[in-house]
Subunit: 99 residues, 2 copies
C-alpha cells in the first residue's frame, strides 16, 4: 500500500464517491449498488484501481461481487488520511454554494 | 479550492516532496531551493499545479520566486487532509524496508 497509489486512486470523483459511500455504509456493498455516472467497463476499472491501491477488498457472494473498505488497515498505514479525504468529499458534496 | 484539485496536486511524488519540505520548513522557500529530479520546465509546471490547487502562494523577493504553504487555509477548508498526507509521505520516506 503506497501513498502514491492511494492518492491516485482517490484523485477521481467516481472512485472517491465509491469510497465515501462505503465509508458511510454499515455493511459491505455490491459493485452494482453504486450509481456511478460511467459505463460498466469504466466502473469495473475504477473498482480495480481502488482494489489495487489497497482501499478495497472484494469477494463474491454467489455471482455478486462485494466490496469492503479497508478502513482499519488504511488507518494503521496512513493515520487520518482516509477519514480526512472522506470528510473533505462530504463537505464538498454538501457545499451547494458556487466555489 | 476543491478536493479534486488538491488530491490531483498531491498525487505526484515531486509535488508531494515540495509540500512536505515546505511543511517542515520554518520559513518560506524559493523554487530553486527544492532539489527536484526533473528539468526546469517540469519543475515550473509542478509549482503552477500546486499554486492553482491552492496549496501554495507565491511571491517575488527581487527576482527570486518564493513559496508559502497555505497550511492554515487548507486546514480550515479540509481539516486534517494536508497533515495526514504529509505524515503519510514522511512515513513512506523513512520506510527503508521494501514494500
Amino acid at each position: 500500500m503506497s501513498v502514491q497509489q492511494v492518492l491516485e486512486a482517490l484523485s477521481d470523483p467516481a472512485r472517491r464517491s465509491v469510497v465515501r459511500t462505503l465509508a458511510h455504509s454499515p455493511a459491505d456493498l455490491s459493485c452494482g449498488s453504486f450509481d456511478l455516472p460511467v459505463g460498466r467497463s469504466t466502473s469495473s476499472h475504477h473498482f480495480s484501481v481502488l482494489r489495487e491501491a489497497g482501499l478495497l477488498r472484494q469477494y463474491y457472494v454467489g455471482t455478486t461481487k462485494m466490496n469492503t473498505l479497508r478502513a482499519e488497515e488504511l488507518e494503521r498505514r496512513f493515520p487520518g488520511l482516509l477519514s480526512a479525504v472522506v470528510a473533505a468529499a462530504d463537505a464538498e458534496a454538501l457545499d451547494t454554494a458556487p466555489s
